[in-house]
Protein backbone atom coordinates (compact mmCIF):
# COMPACT_ATOMS: atom_id res chain seq x y z
CA UNK A 1 0.00 0.00 0.00
CA UNK A 2 1.26 3.47 -0.85
CA UNK A 3 1.38 5.90 1.99
CA UNK A 4 3.13 8.96 0.69
CA UNK A 5 1.65 11.15 3.37
CA UNK A 6 2.50 8.89 6.29
CA UNK A 7 4.66 11.30 8.22
CA UNK A 8 2.19 14.13 7.87
CA UNK A 9 -0.59 12.09 9.41
CA UNK A 10 -1.56 12.95 12.95
CA UNK A 11 0.46 10.78 15.33
CA UNK A 12 2.69 9.73 12.47
CA UNK A 13 5.90 10.80 14.14
CA UNK A 14 5.19 8.50 17.08
CA UNK A 15 5.49 4.72 16.95
CA UNK A 16 2.28 4.51 18.98
CA UNK A 17 -0.11 7.25 19.91
CA UNK A 18 -3.34 7.03 21.92
CA UNK A 19 -5.62 10.02 22.16
CA UNK A 20 -8.30 10.02 24.89
CA UNK A 21 -9.03 6.34 24.30
CA UNK A 22 -11.96 4.73 26.15
CA UNK A 23 -13.26 1.18 26.10
CA UNK A 24 -15.87 -0.82 28.08
CA UNK A 25 -16.46 -4.54 27.83
CA UNK A 26 -20.04 -5.52 27.02
CA UNK A 27 -22.04 -6.09 30.19
CA UNK A 28 -19.50 -4.42 32.43
CA UNK A 29 -20.60 -1.40 34.42
CA UNK A 30 -17.36 0.53 34.41
CA UNK A 31 -14.97 1.35 31.57
CA UNK A 32 -11.88 -0.84 31.26
CA UNK A 33 -10.03 2.19 29.91
CA UNK A 34 -11.16 5.77 30.16
CA UNK A 35 -9.68 8.73 28.31
CA UNK A 36 -6.16 7.33 28.14
CA UNK A 37 -3.66 9.41 26.19
CA UNK A 38 -0.07 8.31 25.66
CA UNK A 39 2.68 8.43 23.04
CA UNK A 40 5.62 6.10 22.42
CA UNK A 41 8.53 7.59 20.51
CA UNK A 42 10.45 5.34 18.17
CA UNK A 43 13.07 3.30 20.02
CA UNK A 44 11.58 3.96 23.44
CA UNK A 45 11.35 1.18 26.03
CA UNK A 46 8.28 1.81 28.15
CA UNK A 47 7.01 -0.28 31.05
CA UNK A 48 3.34 -0.62 31.99
CA UNK A 49 2.35 -1.67 35.49
CA UNK A 50 -0.75 -1.63 37.67
CA UNK A 51 -3.17 -3.87 39.50
CA UNK A 52 -5.09 -6.74 37.92
CA UNK A 53 -8.10 -5.24 36.22
CA UNK A 54 -6.31 -1.91 35.76
CA UNK A 55 -6.62 -1.93 31.97
CA UNK A 56 -3.17 -3.15 30.88
CA UNK A 57 -4.32 -6.04 28.70
CA UNK A 58 -7.18 -3.96 27.28
CA UNK A 59 -4.63 -1.39 26.13
CA UNK A 60 -2.64 -4.17 24.45
CA UNK A 61 -5.73 -5.42 22.58
CA UNK A 62 -6.59 -1.93 21.39
CA UNK A 63 -3.09 -1.45 20.01
CA UNK A 64 -3.30 -4.37 17.60
CA UNK A 65 -6.94 -3.94 16.65
CA UNK A 66 -8.42 -6.87 18.57
CA UNK A 67 -10.67 -4.28 20.21
CA UNK A 68 -11.96 -0.99 18.82
CA UNK A 69 -12.02 2.06 21.06
CA UNK A 70 -15.46 3.39 21.93
CA UNK A 71 -14.13 6.88 21.72
CA UNK A 72 -10.75 8.41 21.09
CA UNK A 73 -8.13 7.26 18.63
CA UNK A 74 -5.23 4.82 18.47
CA UNK A 75 -2.51 5.23 15.86
CA UNK A 76 0.34 2.79 15.26
CA UNK A 77 3.01 4.16 12.88
CA UNK A 78 0.26 6.51 11.74
CA UNK A 79 -2.29 3.75 11.03
CA UNK A 80 -5.51 3.02 12.85
CA UNK A 81 -5.51 -0.61 14.09
CA UNK A 82 -9.32 -0.63 14.19
CA UNK A 83 -9.55 -0.09 10.43
CA UNK A 84 -6.23 -1.52 9.21
CA UNK A 85 -5.51 -4.36 11.66
CA UNK A 86 -3.52 -6.51 9.22
CA UNK A 87 -1.27 -3.66 8.16
CA UNK A 88 -0.71 -2.65 11.80
CA UNK A 89 0.20 -6.22 12.81
CA UNK A 90 3.15 -6.23 10.40
CA UNK A 91 4.62 -3.36 12.39
CA UNK A 92 3.43 -4.18 15.88
CA UNK A 93 3.72 -7.68 17.34
CA UNK A 94 2.08 -8.78 20.58
CA UNK A 95 3.18 -11.49 22.97
CA UNK A 96 0.06 -12.39 24.94
CA UNK A 97 -0.14 -13.36 28.60
CA UNK A 98 -0.91 -17.05 28.43
CA UNK A 99 1.42 -18.80 25.95
CA UNK A 100 -0.87 -21.82 25.88
CA UNK A 101 -3.50 -19.99 23.84
CA UNK A 102 -1.19 -18.98 21.02
CA UNK A 103 0.43 -22.27 20.04
CA UNK A 104 -1.17 -23.78 16.95
CA UNK A 105 1.26 -25.95 14.97
CA UNK A 106 2.34 -29.59 15.35
CA UNK A 107 6.02 -28.79 15.86
CA UNK A 108 7.90 -25.96 17.50
CA UNK A 109 9.56 -24.79 14.28
CA UNK A 110 6.22 -24.66 12.46
CA UNK A 111 4.78 -22.64 15.25
CA UNK A 112 7.61 -20.15 15.11
CA UNK A 113 7.15 -19.95 11.32
CA UNK A 114 3.37 -19.51 11.48
CA UNK A 115 3.33 -15.72 11.42
CA UNK A 116 5.82 -15.61 8.54
CA UNK A 117 3.74 -18.02 6.46
CA UNK A 118 0.78 -15.69 6.86
CA UNK A 119 2.87 -12.80 5.61
CA UNK A 120 4.00 -14.80 2.55
CA UNK A 121 7.72 -14.64 3.35
CA UNK A 122 9.76 -16.75 0.88
CA UNK A 123 10.83 -20.15 2.23
CA UNK A 124 14.60 -19.53 2.17
CA UNK A 125 14.28 -16.34 4.16
CA UNK A 126 11.76 -17.94 6.48
CA UNK A 127 14.17 -20.75 7.41
CA UNK A 128 16.84 -18.22 8.34
CA UNK A 129 14.49 -16.06 10.38
CA UNK A 130 13.06 -19.06 12.25
CA UNK A 131 16.54 -20.35 13.10
CA UNK A 132 17.61 -16.91 14.38
CA UNK A 133 14.49 -16.52 16.51
CA UNK A 134 14.80 -20.02 17.98
CA UNK A 135 18.44 -19.30 18.88
CA UNK A 136 17.56 -15.94 20.40
CA UNK A 137 15.24 -17.52 22.95
CA UNK A 138 17.55 -20.46 23.70
CA UNK A 139 15.41 -23.20 22.18
CA UNK A 140 17.95 -24.87 19.87
CA UNK A 141 17.27 -28.61 19.77
CA UNK A 142 13.54 -28.07 20.35
CA UNK A 143 12.64 -27.51 16.68
CA UNK A 144 10.94 -30.89 16.25
CA UNK A 145 9.37 -31.09 19.71
CA UNK A 146 5.58 -30.99 19.90
CA UNK A 147 4.39 -27.84 21.70
CA UNK A 148 2.00 -29.75 23.97
CA UNK A 149 4.91 -31.69 25.50
CA UNK A 150 6.65 -28.47 26.55
CA UNK A 151 6.57 -26.86 29.96
CA UNK A 152 4.85 -23.51 30.52
CA UNK A 153 8.14 -21.63 30.38
CA UNK A 154 9.24 -23.38 27.19
CA UNK A 155 5.91 -22.55 25.54
CA UNK A 156 6.40 -18.92 26.48
CA UNK A 157 9.74 -18.93 24.69
CA UNK A 158 8.21 -20.55 21.60
CA UNK A 159 5.60 -17.80 21.49
CA UNK A 160 8.30 -15.15 21.87
CA UNK A 161 10.35 -16.72 19.06
CA UNK A 162 7.28 -16.66 16.81
CA UNK A 163 6.89 -12.95 17.50
CA UNK A 164 10.58 -12.16 16.93
CA UNK A 165 10.61 -14.05 13.61
CA UNK A 166 8.07 -11.60 12.17
CA UNK A 167 10.54 -8.80 13.00
CA UNK A 168 8.00 -6.10 13.84
CA UNK A 169 9.53 -2.74 14.76
CA UNK A 170 7.22 -2.38 17.76
CA UNK A 171 7.01 -5.16 20.34
CA UNK A 172 4.17 -5.29 22.84
CA UNK A 173 4.89 -7.80 25.58
CA UNK A 174 2.12 -8.73 28.00
CA UNK A 175 3.96 -10.35 30.90
CA UNK A 176 6.57 -12.07 28.75
CA UNK A 177 8.34 -13.76 31.66
CA UNK A 178 5.42 -14.81 33.87
CA UNK A 179 6.17 -18.52 33.34
CA UNK A 180 9.96 -18.41 33.09
CA UNK A 181 12.43 -19.56 35.73
CA UNK A 182 15.12 -17.19 36.99
CA UNK A 183 17.67 -18.19 34.36
CA UNK A 184 15.15 -18.10 31.52
CA UNK A 185 13.85 -14.74 32.66
CA UNK A 186 17.35 -13.28 32.75
CA UNK A 187 18.05 -14.56 29.20
CA UNK A 188 14.84 -13.16 27.77
CA UNK A 189 15.32 -9.82 29.53
CA UNK A 190 18.89 -9.54 28.29
CA UNK A 191 17.63 -10.19 24.80
CA UNK A 192 14.98 -7.51 25.19
CA UNK A 193 17.60 -5.07 26.49
CA UNK A 194 19.67 -5.75 23.36
CA UNK A 195 16.65 -4.78 21.25
CA UNK A 196 16.35 -1.57 23.22
CA UNK A 197 17.78 0.81 20.65
CA UNK A 198 16.39 -0.75 17.47
CA UNK A 199 12.82 -1.56 18.55
CA UNK A 200 10.07 0.30 20.31
CA UNK A 201 8.99 -1.85 23.25
CA UNK A 202 5.90 -1.66 25.45
CA UNK A 203 6.49 -4.09 28.30
CA UNK A 204 3.55 -4.97 30.59
CA UNK A 205 4.64 -6.69 33.77
CA UNK A 206 3.99 -7.31 37.46
CA UNK A 207 7.70 -7.81 38.08
CA UNK A 208 8.85 -4.27 38.72
CA UNK A 209 12.53 -5.29 38.81
CA UNK A 210 12.28 -5.94 35.06
CA UNK A 211 11.76 -2.24 34.44
CA UNK A 212 14.78 -0.67 36.14
CA UNK A 213 16.31 -0.10 32.69
CA UNK A 214 13.14 1.29 31.05
CA UNK A 215 12.93 4.84 29.72
CA UNK A 216 9.55 5.42 31.35
CA UNK A 217 7.06 3.53 33.49
CA UNK A 218 3.32 4.04 33.01
CA UNK A 219 0.84 3.11 35.73
CA UNK A 220 -2.70 2.08 34.76
CA UNK A 221 -5.26 1.73 37.52
CA UNK A 222 -9.03 1.52 37.23
CA UNK A 223 -8.75 2.19 33.50
CA UNK A 224 -6.90 5.47 33.95
CA UNK A 225 -3.34 6.43 33.29
CA UNK A 226 -2.37 7.60 36.77
CA UNK A 227 1.39 8.06 36.38
CA UNK A 228 4.13 8.39 33.78
CA UNK A 229 7.50 8.42 35.56
CA UNK A 230 11.17 7.62 35.16
CA UNK A 231 12.18 4.39 36.96
CA UNK A 232 14.11 6.36 39.59
CA UNK A 233 11.17 8.52 40.58
CA UNK A 234 8.78 5.57 40.31
CA UNK A 235 10.75 3.30 42.67
CA UNK A 236 11.16 6.07 45.24
CA UNK A 237 7.48 7.01 45.33
CA UNK A 238 6.08 4.85 48.14
CA UNK A 239 2.62 6.45 47.98
CA UNK A 240 2.29 5.87 44.25
CA UNK A 241 3.28 2.22 44.70
CA UNK A 242 0.86 1.61 47.55
CA UNK A 243 -2.09 3.31 45.86
CA UNK A 244 -1.65 1.05 42.85
CA UNK A 245 -1.28 -2.31 44.61
CA UNK A 246 2.38 -2.41 43.72
CA UNK A 247 5.03 -3.83 46.02
CA UNK A 248 8.73 -3.10 45.73
CA UNK A 249 10.78 -6.15 44.76
CA UNK A 250 12.87 -7.76 47.52
CA UNK A 251 16.21 -6.02 46.93
CA UNK A 252 14.96 -2.43 46.55
CA UNK A 253 12.65 -3.01 49.52
CA UNK A 254 15.53 -4.18 51.73
CA UNK A 255 17.61 -1.28 50.42
CA UNK A 256 14.91 1.25 51.32
CA UNK A 257 14.43 -0.17 54.82
CA UNK A 258 18.19 -0.06 55.39
CA UNK A 259 18.28 3.57 54.32
CA UNK A 260 19.66 3.26 50.77
CA UNK A 261 18.09 4.79 47.63
CA UNK A 262 15.99 1.90 46.23
CA UNK A 263 16.32 2.61 42.50
CA UNK A 264 20.12 2.56 42.60
CA UNK A 265 20.32 -0.89 44.16
CA UNK A 266 18.35 -3.41 42.15
CA UNK A 267 20.60 -6.49 42.28
CA UNK A 268 21.74 -8.53 45.31
CA UNK A 269 25.36 -7.79 44.36
CA UNK A 270 24.79 -4.03 44.43
CA UNK A 271 23.04 -4.16 47.80
CA UNK A 272 25.68 -6.45 49.37
CA UNK A 273 28.41 -4.13 48.14
CA UNK A 274 26.68 -1.07 49.57
CA UNK A 275 26.22 -2.75 52.95
CA UNK A 276 29.87 -3.84 53.05
CA UNK A 277 31.05 -0.36 52.17
CA UNK A 278 28.91 1.14 54.91
CA UNK A 279 29.88 -1.35 57.65
CA UNK A 280 33.57 -1.19 56.77
CA UNK A 281 33.77 2.58 56.79
CA UNK A 282 32.15 2.49 60.21
CA UNK A 283 29.74 5.31 59.43
CA UNK A 284 26.25 4.56 60.55
CA UNK A 285 24.58 7.60 59.14
CA UNK A 286 21.12 6.90 57.82
Amino acid sequence: MQNPGEWTRPGGSFAVSCERVSYSYPGSGRPALSEVSLDLRQGEYVGVVGPNGGGKSTLVRLLNGLLRPESGRVLVTGRDPATEPFEVRKHLGVLFQNPENGLVAPFVEDDVAFGLENLGVPREEMLGRVARAVRAVGLEGYERREPHTLSGGEKQRVALAGLLAVEPEILVLDEPTSMLDTAGRREVLEYLQDLHSEKTVLHVTHHLEELTGADRILVLNGGELVADETPERFFSNADLLRENRLVLPVVPRLALKLGFPPAKLSTPEELAEAILARTQSGTRSR
Binding site: G27, Q97, M179, L246, L254, P268, I275, L276
Partner: protein, 271 residues
Protein backbone atom coordinates in the same frame (compact mmCIF):
# COMPACT_ATOMS: atom_id res chain seq x y z
CA UNK B 1 -2.83 -36.63 55.34
CA UNK B 2 0.54 -37.94 54.27
CA UNK B 3 1.20 -38.26 50.58
CA UNK B 4 4.16 -40.30 49.46
CA UNK B 5 5.68 -40.62 46.01
CA UNK B 6 7.98 -43.59 45.49
CA UNK B 7 10.48 -43.79 42.65
CA UNK B 8 8.12 -42.20 40.11
CA UNK B 9 9.06 -42.35 36.46
CA UNK B 10 7.08 -40.81 33.65
CA UNK B 11 7.72 -41.09 29.94
CA UNK B 12 5.65 -39.00 27.51
CA UNK B 13 4.87 -40.46 24.06
CA UNK B 14 6.61 -43.74 24.84
CA UNK B 15 7.69 -45.77 21.84
CA UNK B 16 7.49 -42.82 19.43
CA UNK B 17 10.34 -40.67 18.08
CA UNK B 18 9.05 -37.92 20.40
CA UNK B 19 9.60 -39.91 23.58
CA UNK B 20 10.54 -37.65 26.51
CA UNK B 21 11.46 -38.94 29.95
CA UNK B 22 10.02 -36.23 32.19
CA UNK B 23 10.52 -37.95 35.56
CA UNK B 24 13.48 -40.25 36.16
CA UNK B 25 12.86 -41.74 39.59
CA UNK B 26 11.42 -39.19 42.03
CA UNK B 27 10.78 -40.07 45.68
CA UNK B 28 9.21 -37.42 47.87
CA UNK B 29 6.90 -37.15 50.90
CA UNK B 30 4.32 -34.43 51.49
CA UNK B 31 3.99 -34.29 55.28
CA UNK B 32 0.72 -33.32 56.99
CA UNK B 33 0.26 -29.56 57.52
CA UNK B 34 3.32 -28.39 55.67
CA UNK B 35 3.97 -26.06 52.76
CA UNK B 36 6.24 -27.97 50.42
CA UNK B 37 7.62 -25.94 47.53
CA UNK B 38 8.71 -27.61 44.32
CA UNK B 39 11.15 -25.53 42.33
CA UNK B 40 13.37 -26.09 39.31
CA UNK B 41 14.01 -24.74 35.83
CA UNK B 42 11.46 -24.76 33.03
CA UNK B 43 11.08 -28.34 31.80
CA UNK B 44 12.54 -29.88 34.97
CA UNK B 45 9.37 -31.92 35.55
CA UNK B 46 7.53 -29.86 38.18
CA UNK B 47 4.11 -29.89 36.55
CA UNK B 48 4.44 -33.53 35.50
CA UNK B 49 5.32 -34.47 39.07
CA UNK B 50 2.36 -32.76 40.73
CA UNK B 51 -0.13 -34.20 38.27
CA UNK B 52 0.79 -37.61 39.73
CA UNK B 53 -0.31 -36.51 43.19
CA UNK B 54 -3.96 -37.20 42.39
CA UNK B 55 -3.18 -39.68 39.58
CA UNK B 56 -4.27 -37.30 36.87
CA UNK B 57 -1.15 -38.71 35.28
CA UNK B 58 -0.41 -42.38 35.95
CA UNK B 59 3.28 -43.09 36.48
CA UNK B 60 5.13 -45.21 33.93
CA UNK B 61 6.55 -46.91 37.01
CA UNK B 62 6.58 -46.19 40.75
CA UNK B 63 3.87 -45.68 43.37
CA UNK B 64 1.73 -42.98 44.97
CA UNK B 65 0.72 -43.70 48.59
CA UNK B 66 -2.04 -41.92 50.55
CA UNK B 67 -1.58 -42.46 54.30
CA UNK B 68 0.33 -45.61 53.40
CA UNK B 69 -2.31 -47.02 51.03
CA UNK B 70 -1.68 -47.42 47.31
CA UNK B 71 -3.55 -44.54 45.65
CA UNK B 72 -4.60 -46.73 42.71
CA UNK B 73 -6.81 -48.72 45.10
CA UNK B 74 -8.80 -45.60 46.08
CA UNK B 75 -11.76 -44.39 44.06
CA UNK B 76 -10.48 -41.66 41.76
CA UNK B 77 -13.28 -39.27 42.72
CA UNK B 78 -12.37 -39.74 46.39
CA UNK B 79 -8.66 -39.22 45.67
CA UNK B 80 -9.36 -36.04 43.71
CA UNK B 81 -11.53 -34.62 46.43
CA UNK B 82 -8.80 -35.19 49.01
CA UNK B 83 -5.96 -33.97 46.78
CA UNK B 84 -7.09 -30.78 45.04
CA UNK B 85 -5.05 -29.72 42.04
CA UNK B 86 -5.01 -26.18 40.68
CA UNK B 87 -3.42 -26.13 37.23
CA UNK B 88 -1.27 -23.46 35.65
CA UNK B 89 -3.61 -20.79 34.29
CA UNK B 90 -6.66 -22.49 35.86
CA UNK B 91 -8.86 -19.67 34.58
CA UNK B 92 -8.95 -21.35 31.16
CA UNK B 93 -11.29 -23.93 32.72
CA UNK B 94 -13.91 -21.40 33.87
CA UNK B 95 -17.18 -22.09 32.07
CA UNK B 96 -20.29 -21.15 34.02
CA UNK B 97 -22.40 -17.99 33.55
CA UNK B 98 -21.47 -16.65 36.99
CA UNK B 99 -18.49 -17.05 39.28
CA UNK B 100 -20.76 -18.45 41.98
CA UNK B 101 -22.05 -21.18 39.66
CA UNK B 102 -18.55 -22.01 38.55
CA UNK B 103 -17.27 -22.46 42.08
CA UNK B 104 -20.36 -24.51 42.99
CA UNK B 105 -19.83 -26.98 40.16
CA UNK B 106 -17.37 -29.33 41.86
CA UNK B 107 -18.92 -29.47 45.35
CA UNK B 108 -22.31 -30.12 43.76
CA UNK B 109 -20.85 -33.25 42.17
CA UNK B 110 -20.13 -34.52 45.70
CA UNK B 111 -23.87 -34.83 46.29
CA UNK B 112 -23.94 -32.20 49.07
CA UNK B 113 -27.24 -30.49 49.77
CA UNK B 114 -27.73 -27.09 48.17
CA UNK B 115 -27.33 -25.14 51.40
CA UNK B 116 -23.96 -26.77 52.10
CA UNK B 117 -22.85 -26.07 48.53
CA UNK B 118 -23.80 -22.38 48.88
CA UNK B 119 -21.98 -22.13 52.20
CA UNK B 120 -18.82 -23.64 50.74
CA UNK B 121 -18.95 -21.33 47.76
CA UNK B 122 -19.30 -18.31 50.03
CA UNK B 123 -16.42 -19.44 52.24
CA UNK B 124 -14.06 -20.22 49.37
CA UNK B 125 -14.71 -16.93 47.62
CA UNK B 126 -14.29 -15.05 50.88
CA UNK B 127 -10.98 -16.85 51.59
CA UNK B 128 -9.72 -15.53 48.27
CA UNK B 129 -11.05 -12.04 48.78
CA UNK B 130 -13.39 -12.63 45.85
CA UNK B 131 -16.80 -12.49 47.52
CA UNK B 132 -17.73 -9.40 45.51
CA UNK B 133 -17.27 -11.33 42.25
CA UNK B 134 -19.92 -13.98 42.99
CA UNK B 135 -22.56 -12.65 40.60
CA UNK B 136 -20.20 -11.59 37.81
CA UNK B 137 -19.50 -13.49 34.61
CA UNK B 138 -16.11 -15.20 34.85
CA UNK B 139 -15.36 -14.05 31.31
CA UNK B 140 -15.60 -10.35 32.15
CA UNK B 141 -13.01 -10.54 34.94
CA UNK B 142 -9.38 -9.51 34.88
CA UNK B 143 -6.61 -12.12 34.86
CA UNK B 144 -6.08 -11.99 38.61
CA UNK B 145 -9.80 -12.11 39.41
CA UNK B 146 -10.26 -15.14 37.16
CA UNK B 147 -7.35 -16.85 38.89
CA UNK B 148 -9.00 -16.40 42.27
CA UNK B 149 -12.36 -17.67 40.99
CA UNK B 150 -10.67 -20.80 39.61
CA UNK B 151 -8.77 -21.52 42.82
CA UNK B 152 -11.98 -21.03 44.84
CA UNK B 153 -13.55 -23.88 42.82
CA UNK B 154 -10.88 -26.28 44.07
CA UNK B 155 -10.96 -24.95 47.66
CA UNK B 156 -14.72 -25.57 47.78
CA UNK B 157 -13.92 -29.31 47.65
CA UNK B 158 -12.16 -28.88 51.03
CA UNK B 159 -9.07 -30.84 49.98
CA UNK B 160 -6.63 -32.22 52.56
CA UNK B 161 -3.74 -31.54 50.22
CA UNK B 162 -3.92 -28.51 47.92
CA UNK B 163 -1.53 -28.59 44.99
CA UNK B 164 -1.10 -25.24 43.24
CA UNK B 165 0.96 -24.98 40.06
CA UNK B 166 2.41 -21.47 39.54
CA UNK B 167 -0.58 -19.83 41.25
CA UNK B 168 0.87 -16.33 41.26
CA UNK B 169 2.02 -16.13 37.62
CA UNK B 170 0.41 -13.00 36.20
CA UNK B 171 -0.94 -11.67 39.49
CA UNK B 172 -0.23 -8.11 40.60
CA UNK B 173 2.24 -7.84 43.49
CA UNK B 174 -0.39 -7.28 46.16
CA UNK B 175 -2.60 -10.13 44.90
CA UNK B 176 0.51 -12.30 44.99
CA UNK B 177 1.07 -11.46 48.65
CA UNK B 178 -2.60 -12.10 49.43
CA UNK B 179 -2.43 -15.52 47.78
CA UNK B 180 0.69 -16.39 49.77
CA UNK B 181 -1.14 -15.37 52.96
CA UNK B 182 -4.00 -17.65 51.95
CA UNK B 183 -1.53 -20.55 51.59
CA UNK B 184 -0.20 -19.90 55.09
CA UNK B 185 -3.77 -19.69 56.40
CA UNK B 186 -4.64 -23.05 54.85
CA UNK B 187 -1.64 -24.63 56.53
CA UNK B 188 -2.85 -23.22 59.86
CA UNK B 189 -6.21 -24.89 59.29
CA UNK B 190 -4.48 -28.25 58.76
CA UNK B 191 -4.22 -28.45 54.98
CA UNK B 192 -0.93 -29.42 53.33
CA UNK B 193 0.01 -27.22 50.41
CA UNK B 194 2.28 -28.20 47.55
CA UNK B 195 3.42 -24.99 45.84
CA UNK B 196 5.01 -25.27 42.41
CA UNK B 197 6.80 -22.06 41.63
CA UNK B 198 9.69 -20.66 39.70
CA UNK B 199 9.64 -17.55 41.87
CA UNK B 200 12.18 -18.29 44.60
CA UNK B 201 11.39 -15.02 46.39
CA UNK B 202 7.84 -16.17 47.09
CA UNK B 203 9.00 -19.69 47.98
CA UNK B 204 11.35 -18.14 50.55
CA UNK B 205 8.40 -16.48 52.33
CA UNK B 206 6.06 -19.47 52.72
CA UNK B 207 7.82 -22.83 52.36
CA UNK B 208 8.53 -25.19 55.26
CA UNK B 209 10.53 -27.41 52.94
CA UNK B 210 11.84 -27.04 49.41
CA UNK B 211 12.37 -29.75 46.80
CA UNK B 212 14.53 -28.89 43.79
CA UNK B 213 13.92 -30.80 40.58
CA UNK B 214 16.53 -30.97 37.85
CA UNK B 215 15.97 -32.90 34.63
CA UNK B 216 13.36 -35.14 36.20
CA UNK B 217 15.28 -35.94 39.38
CA UNK B 218 15.31 -34.50 42.91
CA UNK B 219 18.59 -32.63 43.17
CA UNK B 220 18.02 -31.23 46.68
CA UNK B 221 15.36 -31.37 49.39
CA UNK B 222 15.29 -29.81 52.86
CA UNK B 223 14.46 -26.64 54.78
CA UNK B 224 14.70 -23.43 52.73
CA UNK B 225 17.94 -22.52 54.56
CA UNK B 226 19.53 -25.91 53.83
CA UNK B 227 18.57 -25.91 50.18
CA UNK B 228 19.24 -22.25 49.33
CA UNK B 229 22.51 -21.86 51.27
CA UNK B 230 23.58 -25.19 49.72
CA UNK B 231 23.52 -23.50 46.30
CA UNK B 232 23.28 -19.71 46.60
CA UNK B 233 23.37 -19.30 42.80
CA UNK B 234 19.84 -20.81 42.74
CA UNK B 235 18.46 -18.89 45.69
CA UNK B 236 16.03 -16.07 46.46
CA UNK B 237 17.32 -12.48 46.47
CA UNK B 238 17.54 -12.45 50.28
CA UNK B 239 19.97 -15.40 50.34
CA UNK B 240 21.95 -14.01 47.42
CA UNK B 241 22.52 -10.81 49.40
CA UNK B 242 23.47 -12.50 52.67
CA UNK B 243 25.65 -15.19 51.09
CA UNK B 244 27.77 -12.40 49.59
CA UNK B 245 28.28 -11.02 53.10
CA UNK B 246 28.80 -14.28 54.98
CA UNK B 247 32.46 -14.61 53.95
CA UNK B 248 33.51 -11.52 55.88
CA UNK B 249 30.60 -11.37 58.36
CA UNK B 250 29.66 -14.95 59.35
CA UNK B 251 27.55 -13.67 62.26
CA UNK B 252 24.82 -12.85 59.77
CA UNK B 253 23.64 -16.50 60.01
CA UNK B 254 21.32 -18.09 57.48
CA UNK B 255 18.13 -15.99 57.20
CA UNK B 256 15.79 -16.75 54.28
CA UNK B 257 12.52 -14.80 54.77
CA UNK B 258 12.73 -11.12 54.03
CA UNK B 259 11.88 -9.97 57.58
CA UNK B 260 14.54 -12.29 59.08
CA UNK B 261 17.01 -11.02 56.51
CA UNK B 262 16.20 -7.40 57.25
CA UNK B 263 16.70 -8.04 61.00
CA UNK B 264 20.04 -9.75 60.33
CA UNK B 265 21.23 -6.93 58.07
CA UNK B 266 20.17 -4.29 60.60
CA UNK B 267 22.08 -6.11 63.33
CA UNK B 268 25.12 -6.18 61.05
CA UNK B 269 24.91 -2.44 60.46
CA UNK B 270 24.30 -1.81 64.13
CA UNK B 271 21.08 0.07 63.35
Amino acid sequence: MKLELRDLRHVYARGTPFEVEALRGVSLVVEPKEVLAIVGGTGSGKSTLVQHMNLLLVPTSGQVLVDGADATTLRRSELRRRVGLVFQFPESALFAPTVEEDVAFAPRQLGLDEEEVRERVRQSLRALGAGHLAGRSPFALSGGEKRRAAIAGVLAMRPEVLVVDEPTAGLDPLSREELLDLILGLRESGVSVVLVSHDLDEVAEVADRVCVLHEGRVSAVGTPAEVFYGDPTQAPATVRVTSLLRGSRPEIGDPVRSQETLDALRALQGT
